[in-house]
Symmetry: C2
Subunit: 319 residues, 2 copies
């Protein structure tokens, strides 16, 4: 039985970046999520594909031993297609074309085995569908993603879904859009008041920030000299995060912090090449090496035993 | 004798933010720098003021025991004046008015005592002047700031100055503008090839990143729910950084990392109110409390002894 289930999109992408383009490649939230999570746990994917989805497209799931029993192929249908382009800042994807195809009628139904996966990730799909999946599941920990489209068009449904998950994993622009608050701390408070116990904010090249009602954690991103294609960064981040939690099978502050670091490192690989290309070649020792480096890049010790003082005699009123 | 010298501007500012406005208040790079550094070390300021600079304007330097023997008052002159406005994102100041006044003829000459201050910060002034100050000084560690104006208009002079300092402390937009590289890692390499041993990049609400030829360090920012006025954030960051180095009187990686955290915490107070208002009231125990919190907000331990593994059996080629 899989420890982690993801429901989301499996897509064919067409991507342009300042560094190159790829006319047809494997994409989708559930794809990037599951391939990333597979480095840490047993993961199953629930999604829909068309007849055009080739054995080559599917190969990565098998290479990574992702359970594809929930990958439904629609006869005569075409796989969800997305074409996008990035500018030099690589922060925002400009959608050139979206063809929902078989995804338009996607009504995920979980198998009994999938219902019992203890960790569940609701990838970025219509919020009502996300909630229906959540209701079918016996998972003990549920996280979800969403996007600007659903915040704009289905806010009420989205709010109902956010209410019934443990963690919301979105980017900073979405956090601001969802709450109408520019300040991230205020926005986070507002999100938490909607119901979830946790908010994990993805900040791209600036890292990630994690909020609960009474704790806060933030990390910078793993620094990269060559970001080739940011597609899938957020989903592989969520995949590393949920994959780690699922393996640890423990939800406490220290475990969550580690999970965020793992997520960040998995995303740092994903963006180095198109599609899942980098993760298909990724060796476990490369993950471990980057985790070590990340610790080195971020650690500091404020207590050097050198008697550093903040000048007490200069306290206001003391002069 | 002061341990740390700053040469820069002392100004009268007029500031509008979405949260309020202040028609006339104390500002300037040397002001924010020295007030911040004064919590950690003995600091002297070299700058020029006009006859309009009041005893009240000057009071903060005396409260903080900043050595003002290098504060030159020009008879009949007017103090450098800057008026600026911030939008809701608070990231970019829109300059409404700049009157150089006495600052136009500023030719800093260091006293013998000031020449021997072991730590020197060249605040954001014309790069030729910065270099002239650097040449007068016997400091063992010199850092400098600059701005988009000098990158645009005096690039060659700026490059000559950057070549003769130990550390450049600028924001990410300036780093990109100076090098023409969008990617920060590439931009940092390019800056280091210009001469300085260290580059410290200020990233506003996203924290700071530090680069040498063979090391990297990054921190997120101290999270604030209410950022009132970002004016002086960069200078108080540099003041905390240099103030800490000056007190520790030691330049190694661990000390520099601590100094960056101190800088970040000092800046987090500065932006909570207009001008130096917050730092004038700041108590040493508030600094220490925020340092503690910051450590808590950022620490993680990747080695939980739980036997977490990256799936070796799924290495490419192993399947």
């Amino acid at each position: 039985m899989s420890s982690l289930l993801v429901v989301g999109s499996v897509a064919i992408d067409s991507i342009k970046t300042p560094f190159g383009e790829r006319g047809r490649c494997l994409g989708g939230s559930a794809t990037h999520f599951s391939v990333s999570a597979s480095f840490l746990t047993d993961v199953a994917v629930v999604a829909v594909i068309g007849e055009d989805f080739t054995a080559q497209d599917e190969a990565v799931f098998h290479e990574r031993r992702v359970d594809t029993s929930g990958l439904i192929r629609i006869k005569g249908g075409k796989t969800f297609f997305w074409a996008g382009e990035y500018g030099f800042d690589l922060n925002t994807a400009h959608t050139l074309d979206t063809q929902l195809n078989v995804f338009a009628d996607f009504k995920p139904t979980l198998s009994d085995e999938h219902k019992n996966a203890p960790y569940l990730f609701l990838g970025n799909i219509q919020p009502t569908l996300q909630r229906e999946v959540r209701e079918q599941s016996n998972a003990k920990f549920v996280a979800m993603d969403t996007m600007n489209l659903w915040i704009d068009t289905t806010r009420d449904e989205l709010a109902k879904t956010i209410k019934v998950v443990d963690a919301l994993i979105i980017n900073d622009a979405e956090t601001r859009q969802l709450t109408g608050e520019h300040n991230l701390m205020k926005a986070a408070k507002s999100v938490l008041s909607m119901g979830p116990k946790m908010l994990l904010v993805k900040r791209g090249e600036y890292g990630a920030a994690f909020f609960t009602k009474d704790s806060y954690f933030a990390i910078p991103a793993y620094p990269l000299e060559d970001v080739f294609d940011p597609t899938g960064a957020g989903d592989s981040f969520a995949g590393g995060f949920m994959g780690y939690l699922s393996q640890a099978d423990q939800i406490d502050d220290a475990t969550i912090r580690r999970a965020i670091v793992y997520g960040s490192i998995m995303a740092s690989f994903t963006v180095e090449q198109f599609s899942c290309d980098r993760l298909r070649k990724l060796q476990p020792n490369e993950v471990l090496a980057r985790l070590d480096q990340f610790q080195d890049f971020t650690q500091f010790d404020l207590d050097p035993g050198m008697g550093i003082v903040v000048h007490e005699e200069l306290a206001p009123g003391a002069v």
